[in-house]
């Protein structure tokens, strides 16, 4: 595929709501299937981010068949523990053999709880230690600008991740260096391992913090695919080599899409027994009308 071809358009000729919602639910059901293999995983962290994954990969990001294409947009996950929701998309895009998914977390398989760029085609940077990703993205945006490229770097951060000091080092640096093609997405699902983020160590007023660090801030319903598409698409379209980075605060719900997870924050890390998994999949597929 030629370097100037923007395959996003080809992949998503009709970025209609239903299609993107179906892709988000595909992320959910695949995550349930893969976590069944591992017997433990971060279901609810994937579910809060499912629409963002779907909108980025099926409607917004510039991608082609080569996961190492130098002009591609990048996606990094500070909340690397949600990678099990990203792997099915990478397989769907052809970056990863589908059979590899079936061996998720098994000995010798490249797919673990956290994404590894040295093992998984399509993973733009490894993560797992919370707090590094925005700095990694900052470096990519600097490198892109130095190389005269116009790709956008999207970095998804957990809301608990806001408690890591390095995030704010990167926030200061990105604004100072005028990295107008860097977009942070905070998955504001409200929960971390030990409880509600605001009970553990409060992070509000979050939008004001990012604004004070020199970022443009947009708040959006992180489960509304059309709103997400508009906000992320605009952040990309308006990106420049000398501008303010953009922070999108995606207001989401931990466990979104499966009612008994939405109401139980303990689901940050867990395992669904087969009967519960069946109920969850039934609920998701019923909603998707599939």
């Amino acid at each position: 595929m030629s370097a100037d071809h923007d395959s996003t358009e080809q992949r998503s000729p009709a970025p209609e709501r239903a299609r993107l919602e179906e892709r988000a639910d595909f992320v959910r059901t695949e995550a349930i299937r893969l976590i069944e293999i591992a017997k433990v995983g971060h279901y609810s962290s994937v579910f809060s981010a499912a629409e963002t994954f779907a909108v980025l990969y099926y409607a917004v990001m510039r991608l082609n068949d080569d996961p190492r294409w130098p002009d591609r947009d990048r996606f990094l996950m500070g909340k690397g523990h949600a990678a099990v929701g990203l792997f099915p998309i990478l397989a769907d895009l052809g970056y990863l053999e589908r059979e590899v998914l079936d061996g998720y977390t098994r000995l010798g398989n490249p797919l673990g709880d956290h994404p590894d760029m040295t093992k998984v085609p399509g993973i733009d940077f490894s993560s797992g230690s919370i707090g590094h990703a925005l700095s990694n993205g900052l470096g990519m945006a600097l490198g892109g600008r130095l190389a005269g490229k116009d790709f956008t770097v999207f970095v998804m951060l957990g809301d608990g991740e806001m408690q890591e000091g390095q995030v704010w080092e990167a926030a200061l640096g990105a604004a100072h260096h005028r990295l107008g093609r860097l977009v942070a997405i905070v998955d504001r699902n409200g929960y971390q391992l030990d409880g509600a983020v605001d009970d553990v160590i409060g992070i509000e007023p979050l939008a004001d913090k990012w604004r004070a660090f020199g970022w443009d801030v947009v708040e959006v319903d992180g489960h509304d695919v059309e709103a997400l598409r508009a906000v992320l698409g605009e952040a990309k379209a308006n990106g420049t080599d000398d501008g303010r980075p953009v922070c999108v605060i995606a207001k989401t719900m931990k466990g979104k899409g499966v009612r008994y997870m939405e109401t139980e924050p303990g689901w940050h890390l867990g395992y669904l027994d087969p009967a519960d998994a069946e109920r969850a999949v039934a609920e998701i597929t019923e909603r998707s009308g599939r």
Partner: protein, 325 residues
């Protein structure tokens, strides 16, 4: 008050008179840029301490100021490397080799990215700045990280040669350099080979294996000891990892005592690395490790500290005599 480019300012003196050895650092990077390599140099508010201001003035578009955010700098250097840039990032070794260990492990080494980390003012070179600014553990921390090469050059020419050779070395590298005031050991145009020790001389009584700032005083000490009738060899071991195991095993079979000398804790550094090799052979030389004996250094001007801890020619000679008893 004088500006940084005026004679008499501390910045001007730092760059132009106090630390001439650091010119080799910037000059290597300037040459690499001019040879067409996509070098990017970054620092964390220390361009006058490490002399990168020299590079910054020549290639301002390829210089990155990160401010006092060392961890951010290391993670960002890794991101830069994914875009084809060749990042060299420098700060005090106490910060790079201790504060940033996890960023180096996860973002640089595990990812196998060609990032070059330059920890300067290593060991006790910051004298009376105290323990926060001393780095007597950085070889140990960096050496324990899989896939990371660790290089401790003896002087400016060797540093420059190693920096230039690094473009053909695929692994990420931690360079451990001092403050640019070390006497020159090698000619200006010395070459560098990763993973190879340099045997300056052979000796059947004692063989000193030194790295970094300790190579020059080790050579002086050997000269003095020879005057006393001792047969002394000296090996410069600039690549602490991967260590030249073969040379260590070889020399252990033809000398009585191997004396390692380093401006570092004797635990986990060059002495530790040599001990790991000697532990795997039968017989051979006895090992004595000379350096900082698992303690925090006192506060004093660096030369006073080097004397106090025996990290000068006289101290090394004394250690060699004691080792022979």
């Amino acid at each position: 008050m004088t500006g940084p480019r005026e004679e008499g300012s501390w910045q001007y003196r730092a760059v132009n008179t106090l630390n001439p050895g650091l010119d080799w650092f910037s000059d290597a990077l300037i040459e690499l840029v001019e040879e067409g390599h996509p070098v990017v140099a970054g620092t964390a508010d220390l361009q006058y301490s490490n002399g990168l201001v020299r590079f910054a003035q020549r290639h301002p578009d390829r210089f990155l100021q990160f401010g006092i955010s060392e961890q951010n700098m290391v993670s960002a250097a890794a991101g830069l490397a994914t875009t084809g840039a060749m990042p060299f990032v420098a700060t005090f070794a106490s910060f790079l080799g201790l504060l940033c260990v996890e960023q180096i492990r996860m973002d640089v080494a595990y990812t196998k990215l060609p990032v070059r980390l330059i920890g300067h003012h290593t060991g006790i070179a910051l004298g009376f700045y105290g323990t926060s600014h001393h780095a007597t553990e950085d070889i140990a921390t960096m050496r324990a990280i899989a896939g990371l090469t660790v290089v401790s050059p003896a002087d400016g020419p060797q540093l420059k040669a190693a920096l230039k050779a690094s473009v053909n070395w695929p692994e990420p590298i931690y360079f451990r350099i001092s403050r640019g005031r070390d006497p020159q050991v090698y000619p200006d145009d010395v070459s560098f080979e990763f993973g190879k020790g340099i045997e300056h001389s052979q000796g059947t009584d004692v063989t000193i294996i030194a790295c970094g700032t300790q190579v020059h005083p080790a050579l002086e000490a050997a000269e003095a000891l020879r005057g006393e009738g001792m047969s002394v060899g000296v090996i410069d071991m600039p690549t602490v990892k991967p260590l030249d195991d073969e040379l260590v095993r070889d020399v252990a079979g033809r000398t009585g005592v191997v004396l390692t000398v380093e401006e570092h804790n004797v635990l986990g550094g060059l002495g530790g690395a040599v001990a790991e090799v000697l532990a795997g052979i039968t017989g051979g030389a006895r090992l004595v490790r000379h350096g900082i004996q698992d303690e925090y250094s006192l506060i004093a001007p660096p030369t006073h500290l080097y004397q106090h801890y025996g990290l000068d020619a006289e101290g090394i000679a004394k250690a060699a005599r004691t080792a022979r008893e």
